[in-house]
Assembly symmetry: C2
Homo-oligomer: 324 residues x 2
Amino acid sequence: MHFTLKHLRYFVKAGEHSSVTRAAEELHVSQPSISTAILHLEEATGLQLFVRHHAQGLSLTPAGRQFILKSKQLLLDADNLGHYANTLCTKIAGSLRIVSFPTFTPILLPSLMKKFIETYPEVNIQCDESHQKDIIQSLMVGDYELALTYDLQLPTEIEFEPIIEFPPYVALAKDHPLAASTELSLTELAEYPMVLLDWPMSREYFFSLFLSQDVEANIAYRAQSLAMVRGLVANGFGYSLFNTPLVNNLALDGSEIVAIPLTGKLRPLRLGVAKIAHFRLTPIAEAFISTLKERAAELAQSVFTDQRFYKHLSQSEESTKDNP
Amino acid sequence: MHFTLKHLRYFVKAGEHSSVTRAAEELHVSQPSISTAILHLEEATGLQLFVRHHAQGLSLTPAGRQFILKSKQLLLDADNLGHYANTLCTKIAGSLRIVSFPTFTPILLPSLMKKFIETYPEVNIQCDESHQKDIIQSLMVGDYELALTYDLQLPTEIEFEPIIEFPPYVALAKDHPLAASTELSLTELAEYPMVLLDWPMSREYFFSLFLSQDVEANIAYRAQSLAMVRGLVANGFGYSLFNTPLVNNLALDGSEIVAIPLTGKLRPLRLGVAKIAHFRLTPIAEAFISTLKERAAELAQSVFTDQRFYKHLSQSEESTKDNP
DNA sequence: ACATTTAAATCAAAAAAAACTATGCAAGTA
DNA sequence: TACTTGCATAGTTTTTTTTGATTTAAATGT
């Protein structure tokens, strides 16, 4: 025989008042409900919890006194669990786990997380990086509540809300023959050697761009990291196509890169938040999304704008780097 | 909306197995039971606990992962409460509260408690002293589980099990005119001054003895403590009637007392254990009663026997005190 | 590509638990 | 002695839980 929290609640109230009737009043139930609950509990525990006094209530036995203490504690714990659940789903406190696609993560997330933590200091953010397939997989399994990624290869079970649009652009070494162009087409580029970011989803995306222009890319080098692609481009191994803003035009070895806009109708990449469809987000996640939107708007006004069109980028580069 | 321990149990099992079906199997309930319990819990907490996967179970959300941890803890606490109750009503460990009548308490209890604690070192005994009225009162209110007292003035709600019988005897100063008698009757004593232990129940008992012999006592002094009665008797203020064995024949000031048996049909006092009728005793109390019975048997073979008949007492006194 | 399997949600019906009203009973109170 | 108090019990009704059957939708196998 098992006891329930309700049994304990009834018992504790009766014990506190030394009265079944008063417990019933206070709990807004009938007197027999309390009475039978106590009987049940005595049966379940094998303890005699009360001494009954005719016409004047009841009083706890020594065993009952010992048992009521622990019972109160358990009820408190149960209430706390309820409150905890409530906190999890209403208060902006606790922890948030997100995954993000690696290209823009180091550009976007550090400042975003900083801003978020300033507003909600009680939140602990864990942000991991994964490729699209793993992002989707771990979202589905519940390892993360949210993902920041591109709207590519998403299954129908994943809901996507776009935030920023990134058109592709060309990245060249400063001394590349085409480095002085104000804009370029994929057709013009095709004959030059290209450095490819050889990641599952990115690879297919770049190929699709060339396909849409009916040309074929001349892949000279493949690299497995963005830093390596930048390094190869800056050192003249070829051009490359990027979507995420360049922001900083130096490769890790200090050599310079130039960004040039592309002509032609090319599908841009849309960065946004992905989550499981019809998934009820915690308020932490909701808050994170709105902070992200604010931050995206800010960035669109500053660094990202310069990047999106070559003019802006070159202006900012000329003013920031070449002039002084 | 409230959740129950059962809901938590179902949820935790499902979470542990990432499967409603397997949880149902393990808990020997149907699959819909688990399913609805989880739904209910999600409703009650406002949390999305699981991500559902068609045809391959479900997985905990980050919030669900946080919630399941605390849920497991609460379930453990609940189980522990059950075990605790079980311990209280089966294991000889914990605490025992008893009351005892003051006349024999300092003679009987110290050695009895020592013996009991040696066998059951995990028990903590609290033994208080009270007069009969308070003993009964506090038993009824559940302040104590057991009482050690005499079978006098007990209401029907109190169940009494006799353990030892104490006939009354006379206590005299060593130099009292009657000190050499081998036995005495109340009629012989009546003319001498008597020292009365002036306690509620004791008083009535001693009077009833005289009443049964159709004589009246000559109360010269009244005292409110046994030690004082012994002192007065030893210093020649009068004789007194005792029931509890003398054991040690010295008053607190070192003067000596002599014990002499009484003739005539005199109601003895029966010492025993009292508890509320139909009250389910804890195993600690049960164990205590059997230890008490053993100890009573031992004492009846030694000190108490010498006391009950004057011959034995004087022998032991002569051999122990006068000879060396 | 289609059938089969897997596993959760849903539905309606049955069973169990809990609640209520009314009543009984024993002791205290007027 | 009649009246009140307060817990226990009985019988009913309501609510909750459980269940078997069915549905749904994705994964798996041929």
